[in-house]
Symmetry: C2
Amino acid sequence: MPLEQGQIQVYTGNGKGKTTAALGLAFRACGRGLRVLMIQFMKGGGPYGEHLAAQKLAPLLTIIPSGRPGWVKRPVPDPEDVELARKAFAAATAAVTGGEYDLVILDEINGALSFNLIPEEELLALMKLKPGSVELILTGRDATDGVMAAADLVTEMKEIKHYYKAGIPSREGIEK
Amino acid sequence: MPLEQGQIQVYTGNGKGKTTAALGLAFRACGRGLRVLMIQFMKGGGPYGEHLAAQKLAPLLTIIPSGRPGWVKRPVPDPEDVELARKAFAAATAAVTGGEYDLVILDEINGALSFNLIPEEELLALMKLKPGSVELILTGRDATDGVMAAADLVTEMKEIKHYYKAGIPSREGIEK
């Protein structure tokens, strides 16, 4: 059954669980036969656990990572990083408007805005373009006021405590 | 590769994304070949999307819902609800200590405490029993101070805005 009343959900904040919540949404949606695309921004260095698991939910779930390993420069990013983000954003626009997907997740898109890889007005325009048959999920810390105002749901993931401060590294199967 | 330095993660707060983040963790872990068990408290009325999707990740992922449809009575729950929660908690203890699973998720366990289905001291004892080879995830709003103090990571999911206030109902594939 196709989705009706598709909403725009934003997961932001400095706590763990933003990308993971989006993966959980993708997983649940596949259980109902929805067609899901996740486009990841600034996510080089994989494959990560989610990419390996996604193969088991194909063809319902597709995850497309973009970006290079390492951090994007602030405040002026390398042209190569801008180019990779722009290509990913073009794919996102096609996915949101093309009718092939019920659930589209733009993972770390808020980061792509705050690192000056994508202009805010382009994301706001895409949010306006979204048809009612598509649920759109936007993740990443530092969501702009404009993006939050245009969204239907905003959850802030707030870090109360985190084990990385106790020296626990990023672990395969948990963080990546 | 078995997990090392298994941590205890808590997802609490009034915002959307707690169970969903736990599902995302389960999904990613399966991509790395970890063995995952999710036990859900107060989760009658299914099957939901996550139960249908879990079949596709078997045998790595098992989700066991417990409880009856509808709300548990406050402050004194029906004996039948207590009994169902206690059975689920016994299964959780066996899973955390038995060596069969790398990742154990107790979904809505915080709710089970706040609805007086499970005593806090039993959950605290289980957290102490957890071996280093197991990652333990606890979800649900109103996590107690004691549970948060004993955890290694706590994220508060904070509702900034939610579309249910605009009259959007719980939808198949998104909320359930």
